[in-house]
């Protein structure tokens, strides 16, 4: 036989090995080891180096494992974009962990839409009333609950430094015009009127635009817009965008806000370089550790003042049910029950009580915390009194929202007009399908 040909064949077949390996299936691994302990893998969004959230989460895990010695949880953590990249990779390769942190909106829709996780309603039956209404809204096309929300997240709070306000001889503005009028005085004192860091592009949408859309358009309009009966280039929506443009042009936001990494907004507020600071309720978690006891007394949680021609409710904000754990559709019955034990522990009464102490705003209805940190008490009180509208990124798909976030930056720079970015949003939402 011709050696040359033989070698060529061997050589080519080497190339084919990966193809064959790729096509080959794998054996499912048995998880129950037979000693009565169920091991479940959990994928969670957590910054393991965060001095506040990481130990807090570990505490919850410890309490759970002590109470449930037959369940062993193995955790993998992801954080920031990396969390979502990995989740997507796992979902596409069919390697989703047993329990996984999901978002109520579109952020993790590639997992929920693909039928990779179980509907939690059968497990939840009978407990629906124990949660805030917002948390029990259907997440899937047929009203499925894919994840049990841990928190209510209020995405727009105007944190106010009352000491600076007093020092400047100002009072909390009741109207938008008043707020604008305070700008020059605050800047003259070398301070930032409204601290917000928008380099990552989502804060302006999540913490400002959603709230302004609720004010300018009202809740009803938003329901219609989602149903396709109102359009995102309607005059009232454009008006909300114009307010952001005006706030930018009148230098109300942190100078160079689009260059500031998220986190700088809070830094400037904590260091009292800013009078107001717009961010979500989740920052209270960090404020507990970073504000001094004295600061906690004069920092208050307020709503953005009322705007002219306001259609929404006065002092309203935007809020959504937060993320929570869901479970893999492939789990066996016994595994599912063990998984549910963790989910219910975490978002149900026990875990919620613990998390509330840590500064969160659980979706599970709890009594007001008496001995909690002053900032938590302020957050709970704030949540109890303000009307709430939609958060845009929890109702619109990833691509329209991603484009809209960036378009808000474009508008702030003047490279696009409020009208243009509204039209582009409408076009994109229509193209993708509502």
């Amino acid at each position: 036989m011709n050696m040359k040909r033989l070698f060529s064949i061997v050589f080519i077949s080497l190339f084919l090995v990966p193809v064959l390996l790729f096509a080959a299936g794998t054996k499912e691994q048995a998880k129950d080891t037979g000693d009565g302990v169920t091991t479940l893998s959990v994928y969670h969004f957590l910054d393991q180096t965060d001095k506040t959230t990481a130990p807090n989460f570990q505490y919850l895990v410890d309490v759970f494992e002590k109470a449930n010695p037959t369940i062993k949880l193995t955790f993998e953590y992801g954080y920031g974009e990396a969390f979502h990249d990995k989740l997507q990779t796992m979902a596409m390769s069919g390697q989703l962990p047993d329990i996984v942190l999901l978002y109520p909106g579109e952020r993790t829709s590639q997992v929920t839409n693909a039928g990779l996780v179980q509907d939690l309603r059968p497990y939840l039956a009978g407990h629906e009333n124990e949660f805030a209404d917002m948390a029990m809204q259907g997440q899937g096309k047929n009203g499925e609950i894919w994840e049990l929300p841990e928190d209510i997240s209020i995405t727009s709070i105007m944190f106010t430094n009352n000491r600076l306000l007093k020092q400047l001889g100002l009072t909390l503005p009741k109207t938008y015009e008043e707020l604008l009028a305070q700008g020059p005085k605050i800047r003259a004192a070398g301070l930032i009127p409204i601290s917000i860091a928008n380099k990552d592009a989502w804060p302006m949408q999540s913490c400002v635009a959603g709230m302004l859309v609720e004010r300018a358009c009202g809740l009803e309009w938003f329901d219609k817009a989602i149903a396709g009966e109102a359009r995102f280039d309607d005059a009232e929506f454009v008006y909300a965008m114009e307010i952001i443009k005006e706030l930018t042009d009148k230098q109300m936001f942190s100078p160079g806000t689009n260059q500031l990494a998220y986190g700088q907004g809070l830094d400037d507020f904590v260091q009292e370089k800013a009078v107001y600071f717009i961010d979500g309720g989740w920052t209270v978690n960090n404020m507990i550790g970073e504000l001094t006891a004295e600061q906690k007394e004069y920092m208050s949680l307020e709503s953005f003042p009322d705007i002219p021609r306001q259609k929404g409710k006065s002092l309203s904000t935007s809020a959504t049910a937060g993320q929570g754990f869901g479970m893999n559709a492939k789990l066996t019955k016994a595994e599912s029950e063990a998984a549910w034990k963790w989910i219910w522990f975490y978002s149900g009464p026990e875990g919620s009580a613990i998390r509330q102490k840590f500064g969160r705003l659980p979706a599970y209805n709890l009594d007001e915390p008496k001995d909690a940190d002053p900032m938590i008490q302020k957050l709970v009180a704030y949540a109890g009194k303000v009307p709430m509208g939609y958060v845009m990124d929890s109702v619109l798909a990833a691509e329209p929202i991603g484009t809209f976030n960036i378009n808000l930056q474009n508008m702030m720079f003047g490279t696009k007009t409020p009208k243009q970015i509204s039209q582009e949003l409408e076009a994109m939402v229509t193209a993708i399908g509502r």
């Binding site: 990966p18 390996l21 790729f22 080959a24 299936g25 794998t26 994928y43 910054d47 393991q48 180096t49 965060d50 001095k51 990481a54 993998e76 954080y79 920031g80 990396a82 990249d85 990995k86 990779t89 796992m90 596409m92 390769s93 390697q95 990552d200 990494a261 998220y262 986190g263 809070l266 830094d267 260091q271 960090n286 970073e290």
Partner: protein, 276 residues
């Protein structure tokens, strides 16, 4: 005449000093900041540390699990680099001294490999590794590292070995050596200068690699330093002191590594001037 020389000299120094300062200032600042607590960095970003605040390092080391990451980084960088260089040298020898038609095609494939971004293969790669049970293992990280290192290194090896006179190989054949012996006893020793360069480059690249190890692993026990550092440097981290300490832990070993081996390169270059 004299004037142009001094002007040229002046400009040369200016250029050299500019580059030097651009390197020294940020690095010094990073190292000094790592010894300052968060509050001091925020309030006085430029001031030197008041005292040597080493809690940043101890905290970063324990909280970020940098110890185990450090070991893994070392394993990945060493093992993957060794095999990348070995395979690149053997390929380079095959491609430059055998003169088969298929060499051109293989070289072209490797050149195309230079153009592939990690992101465009990450999902198929992950699927493949989970099916093979390789994800979450050290081997599962090392194999892609070798593969991604190859295109550039094969290129370097091929061009270098091409420059080795054919006469060396021919006289060895006459003496009865086979090609594997020639590769091990002649090509590799003669190519030491390029090997040290290849080794350093590949090692640095592997040490700093982030996306592959992040995607292909999930257990703390098999992840490496860039993952640990990223968890400090990622957007919302609230403690600059910790962040700088983590950066120093990740960066300084490489600077030391380079400072040690830099003379090796220089020697290699000097010895590598082939006698013709």
């Amino acid at each position: 005449m004299k004037k142009t020389i001094t002007l040229g000299k002046g400009l040369s120094y200016l250029l050299m000093i500019t580059f030097t300062l651009l390197t020294i200032i940020p690095l010094t600042w990073m190292i000094l900041s790592a010894f300052k607590p968060h509050a001091l960095i925020v309030r006085h970003p430029l001031s030197p540390p008041m005292s040597w605040y080493i809690e940043n390092f101890t905290l970063a080391w324990t909280q970020g699990h940098l110890g185990i990451y450090f070991i893994n980084s070392t394993i990945y960088s060493l093992v993957a680099t060794f095999f990348t260089v070995l395979f690149a040298m053997s390929s380079g020898y095959a491609l430059s001294k055998f003169h088969y038609k298929s060499s051109r095609f293989v070289s072209l494939l490797y050149t195309l490999g230079l153009l592939i971004t990690v992101h465009s293969v990450i999902v198929p790669l992950f699927i493949m590794e989970t099916k093979l049970g390789l994800s979450n293992t050290r081997l599962g990280v090392i194999l892609p590292y070798i593969a991604f290192g190859l295109p550039f290194q094969v290129f370097l090896a091929t061009t270098y070995i091409k420059g080795i006179p054919d006469a060396m190989q021919e006289s060895a054949i006459i003496d009865g050596a086979d090609f594997i012996q020639i590769f091990l006893r002649i090509i590799i020793p003669v190519a030491t200068p390029i090997i040290s360069t290849m080794f350093i480059y590949t090692f640095l690249g592997n040490w700093n690699e982030f996306i592959l190890v992040l995607t292909l692993t999930s257990d703390l026990t098999v992840r490496s330093l860039p993952v640990g550092i990223n968890s400090f440097a990622g957007g919302m981290s609230r403690d600059y002191g910790l962040q700088f300490a983590a950066l120093v832990i990740g960066t300084v070993p490489m600077i030391i590594f380079y400072l040690i081996f830099k003379d090796k390169i220089a020697q290699g270059f000097a010895a590598g001037a082939l006698k013709e």
